[in-house]
């Protein structure tokens, strides 16, 4: 087998050195009747060519985003990632390294984590950021737990504009931990009255902007009210590119900012791996979950970096840890950091403008299609339309015509009575032809 360097001769020689007769002598602690005598019922080894064929055949049954006019978003976005990013993250020294517990031989990883933390802090307008969470949704779950720790309260208020998957993650975790969750009803217009839900019993309000329907939320009044009641504002985003154009959550007063970083540097990957961004005010730092990389010096006085404040973490604190998170999204943070470095401020802000411009163009075009009503007053690169037919059906019909037209709200919120709503996203990858194809296909379908 190509991955196994030992030859049978090696094995015999090694068993002899160990002083046992057969390999199963080394498995003697396994109850005899539980030790498998035969191979499990799975196929035998395959060469590369055969594996490639099997997996390529599966892959060919999926429709890649790049192969069609593509407008699917709702928490994961199709962006162009420069070739440099994927090349660099495949460097053996990055790809096959471990969590940097041995800093002397992991400065590469540690320095990019430090760069990542700085970028995320800048982007979110916060004082400090950690070295990543699994993704935006689990990060949101952790943010709520963190708010409970900080405020010593156990009741979270979730905006009706929060991505339903994110809300579900929070609810699941809260239910299991016997914490309270107040989840507001789906808020298509972004006008819910969340302020009235904030009182002295609330640990945090969780507000997403752009929200799941695409509306932009003004966080300032919420932050203000939360502050007055000793609650934290957790600001959530699912589209990191939006931060290139929008006022940062930090500057609006958020206490914790958490979001999905997939848009920068990472492929769609059918949902994962992604990278959760997590930032907070520095006074809460000892309540933060996840890894933190800090600057220090080595024995010669040279600047270097280490994982730090690990007394918060499970491998030190065990059941008193701030989180059980261990492996996180190392390589995805690297992709994020490299792409962000390539973009720079000039590139990111321009990319954001292009995204917004494309979405505006699309909204204007769709507004002219009979049976389509654009609902948003504000949006970044995604908005909600009301269709004259059920959106789930329409999307299937569009797919048959080779257009992936968006996400039916019913897929995210079944039973919410929003079956005629469709979320439509447009990024820099969409061309005039793409938009025209969607409009034309909608005309035919509606």
């Amino acid at each position: 087998m190509r991955y196994l360097p030992l030859s049978d001769a090696d094995r015999r020689e090694m068993l002899a050195r160990i002083g046992v007769q057969s390999i199963d002598d080394l498995f003697a602690d396994i109850p005899k009747d539980k030790l498998l005598k035969d191979l499990v019922d799975l196929p035998r080894r395959k060469g590369e060519l055969e594996v490639e064929r099997i997996l390529s055949r599966m892959a060919s049954r999926n429709v890649p985003a790049s192969s069609v006019p593509f407008f699917v978003g709702a928490g994961a976005y199709k962006h162009h990632v420069p070739a440099t990013v994927d090349h660099l993250i495949q460097r053996s020294e990055f790809l096959t390294s471990y969590t940097p517990y041995q800093p002397e031989i992991a400065q590469g990883t540690l320095q990019y984590l430090f760069e990542f933390q700085t970028q995320v802090a800048a982007l979110t307008g916060m004082e400090v950021a950690n070295a990543s969470m699994y993704d935006g949704s689990t990060g949101t779950g952790e943010a709520v737990l963190m708010a409970h720790r900080v405020t010593k309260r156990r009741k979270a208020v979730l905006s009706g504009g929060l991505h339903p998957h994110y809300a579900d993650v929070v609810k699941t975790l809260s239910h299991m931990a016997s914490d309270e969750v107040v989840a507001l009803a789906p808020d298509v217009s972004g006008t819910e009255d969340i302020l009235s839900r904030i009182d002295d019993s609330v640990s945090c309000v969780v507000v997403q902007s752009p929200d799941v329907f695409g509306n932009l939320r003004d966080l300032k009044p919420i932050a203000e009210k939360a502050r007055r009641h000793g609650a934290l504002l957790i600001a959530v985003f699912t589209e990191a590119v939006s931060l290139g154009l929008l006022e940062s959550p930090g500057s609006q007063g958020a206490d914790i900012v958490v979001g999905e970083g997939q848009s920068i540097g990472n492929a769609l990957n059918f949902g994962g791996p992604y990278v959760g961004l997590f930032a907070a005010k520095s006074k809460y730092i000892r309540q933060m979950p996840g890894r933190l990389c800090g600057e220090t010096v080595d024995a010669d006085g040279k600047r270097g970096f280490v994982l730090t404040l690990s007394t918060r973490e499970q491998h030190i604190r065990r059941d008193k840890a701030t989180s059980n998170i261990c492996t996180n999204s190392g390589l995805c943070t690297l992709a994020f950091t490299i792409h962000m470095t390539l973009l720079g401020e000039a590139g990111l802000t321009r990319l954001a403008r292009i995204n917004h411009a494309n979405a505006v163009k699309l909204a204007d075009m769709l507004a002219g299609v009979k049976g389509v009503e654009v609902l948003n007053r504000t949006f970044f690169n995604e908005f909600t339309v009301r269709l004259s037919k059920p959106a789930a059906e329409v999307v299937e019909r569009l797919a048959e015509k080779g257009v992936l037209g968006g996400v039916p709200v019913s897929r995210l919120m079944p039973g919410a009575g929003l079956d005629d709503l469709l979320l439509v996203a447009s990024t820099e990858v969409n061309t005039d032809d793409d938009r025209a194809a969607l409009a034309a296909a909608l005309k035919e379908v509606l």
């Binding site: 539980k34 096959t96 400090v128 699994y134 998957h165 280490v306 989180s323 590139g347």
Partner: protein, 494 residues
């Protein structure tokens, strides 16, 4: 060998991405547009390339040398798997595309599930957890959901965790409100069924047992423990971090396990990537299967269907672990690994991993001390620091000295139940020649440590790494967690 930070060499107006400014249009931002600069530097593409290539050169990886990090399973990462994961049909597919356009993705998830279920002889698998610890959480949530369904939610709230467990175990249990009770360590490295029985009662929800355990031993009373747990109405959570030792040799389902997470990035070799992404699917016994979280793929009328909402499911999912379907990119890599190895290759890999560990053990046992006696280990061998007594050299010093010899240190000071633990896991990826060189190097180092003639070689190590030993206390005492622009030079000083 100091590489500057991007913030020290980048410029706000530089970009390594060519984009055209959009034509004029009327924004719809409702006055919420950013007013201030972000403060992000940009680099041109050549500068970016060089910066990150140079950073990489300060890292150690499996590809650059033996990586004997016990419990972490640093084995070869085949590049075929990387290539497969990058097929546009997998990498460039959105989780919320119409199901009719992702049939292959569902097929892959189903096939992966079939492999995992077959290898473990369990009933079902929740794929979505994002890493090992997340898988633990998923498994323990399923247990909690099952207990609640039995109406014992209020009364059964204790989880037994051996002292030798990974820190994630107690952290996970505590996270969802369980009370953690330790199972004390014994001097043979095994958990004893009588110790467990003593702790069992109507308040016990589960035991979290790592098997093979963190001392590198297979829990030889596992069947009895499982029976005792079940008899007491509790569940058996198995930490699958060390499953790689027994794949194809024994099946957790046969051993009475109710839930076990599988680290795809350990057992099935998806790359560790400097700390992730991982992937932690959880296999569940029939007793826990109904509670698996959404989403999952199920065979319905001969067609693979994605079940995304509780309402859709015939089952009683306890909720959702994450947005979307989990770590697809890792699923592809893991399945590629399993297809490549096959039933025969996976079994052989387990045997070779165990063989390699025992070969190291047998080759060092005269110099290094073993806390639980000289007996066969599984995929990793545990030493303690008894043999370093009075040398003035600590486990840490010894590990750092290994760096100067071109090796990544072993896992140190874990498991906690052993003083000055050194946990060595060579994995099946190492050739005999590589092991022989490693053994010879460790023996030389050990002799040097014992003679004590050159203590500074250890206490000062490493000398030949990109950095000397780093001041971790300083980092923690005054945390500097991001770059800040240097203060302008003060005008004139006294």
């Amino acid at each position: 060998q100091i590489e500057p930070l991007i913030f020290e060499i980048g410029r706000a107006d530089t970009t390594g991405v060519d984009l055209d400014e959009p034509e004029a249009f009327t924004p719809r931002l409702g006055g919420l547009e950013r007013k201030d600069a972000i403060g992000l530097p940009g680099l041109s593409e050549p500068e970016t390339m060089r910066h990150y290539v140079r950073l990489s050169q300060m890292n150690y990886g499996i590809d650059t040398g033996l990586f004997p990090l016990g419990s972490c399973t640093m084995k070869h990462n085949p590049r075929l798997n990387e290539r497969m994961a990058r097929l546009p049909g997998f990498a460039d597919v959105h989780p919320l595309q119409p199901v009719s356009t992702v049939k292959g993705a569902l097929e892959l998830m189903n096939e992966l599930a079939r492999y995992l279920v077959t290898l473990t002889n369990m009933t079902t698998v929740a794929l979505s957890p994002k890493a090992g610890a997340h898988g633990e959480l998923c498994g323990m949530m399923a247990i909690k959901a099952a207990i609640e369904a039995r109406g014992e939610g209020k009364t059964r709230n204790v989880v037994l965790v051996p002292d030798s467990a990974h820190g994630t175990n107690p952290a996970t249990a505590a996270l969802i409100g369980f009370v953690v009770k330790p199972v004390p360590a014994r001097d043979d490295g095994w958990v004893h069924v009588e110790d467990v029985k003593k702790l069992l009662g109507p308040d016990v929800a589960a035991i979290m047992l790592t098997n093979p355990n963190t001392c590198g031993l297979f829990e030889n009373q596992v069947a009895e423990i499982a029976k005792a747990i079940h008899d007491a109405g509790a569940y058996f959570y198995c930490d699958g971090a060390n499953f790689n030792a027994i794949v194809g040799k024994a099946r957790p389902g046969d051993l009475g396990v109710d839930a076990m997470h599988i680290n795809l990035h350990k057992t099935f070799s998806t790359p560790h990537g400097g700390g992730g992404p991982g992937s932690g699917p959880v296999v569940l016994s029939a007793r826990l299967a109904p509670y698996a979280p959404v989403p999952f793929v199920t065979l319905k009328d001969g067609e693979l269907t994605l079940v995304e909402h509780e309402a859709d499911a015939a089952e009683k999912p306890f909720g959702r672990m994450t947005a979307f379907h989990g770590q697809m990119g890792m699923y592809v890599r893991a399945l590629s690994y399993m297809l490549s190895h096959g039933a025969d290759g996976m079994r052989q890999a387990s045997e070779d991993a165990v063989l390699n560990a025992n070969y190291v053990r047998a080759s060092l046992s005269d110099l290094f001390s073993q806390p639980f006696g000289d007996k066969p280990c599984m995929h990793e061998v545990l030493f303690d620091d008894t043999w370093l007594k009075d040398t003035g050299v600590t486990t840490l010093d010894f590990a750092k000295a290994m760096i100067d010899e071109g090796y990544h240190p072993m896992t140190m000071y874990f498991p906690l139940v052993v003083h000055g633990a050194m946990l060595i896991e060579p994995t099946e990826s190492e050739s005999k020649a590589s092991l022989d060189l490693f053994i010879a190097t460790l023996r030389d180092l050990a002799m040097a440590a014992k003679t004590g003639n050159d203590k500074a070689r250890f206490t000062g190590a490493p000398f030949h790494a990109p950095r000397r030993r780093l001041d971790e206390t300083r980092a923690a005492r005054n945390p500097v967690l991001k770059w800040t622009p240097p203060a302008p030079v003060a005008e004139a000083a006294e």
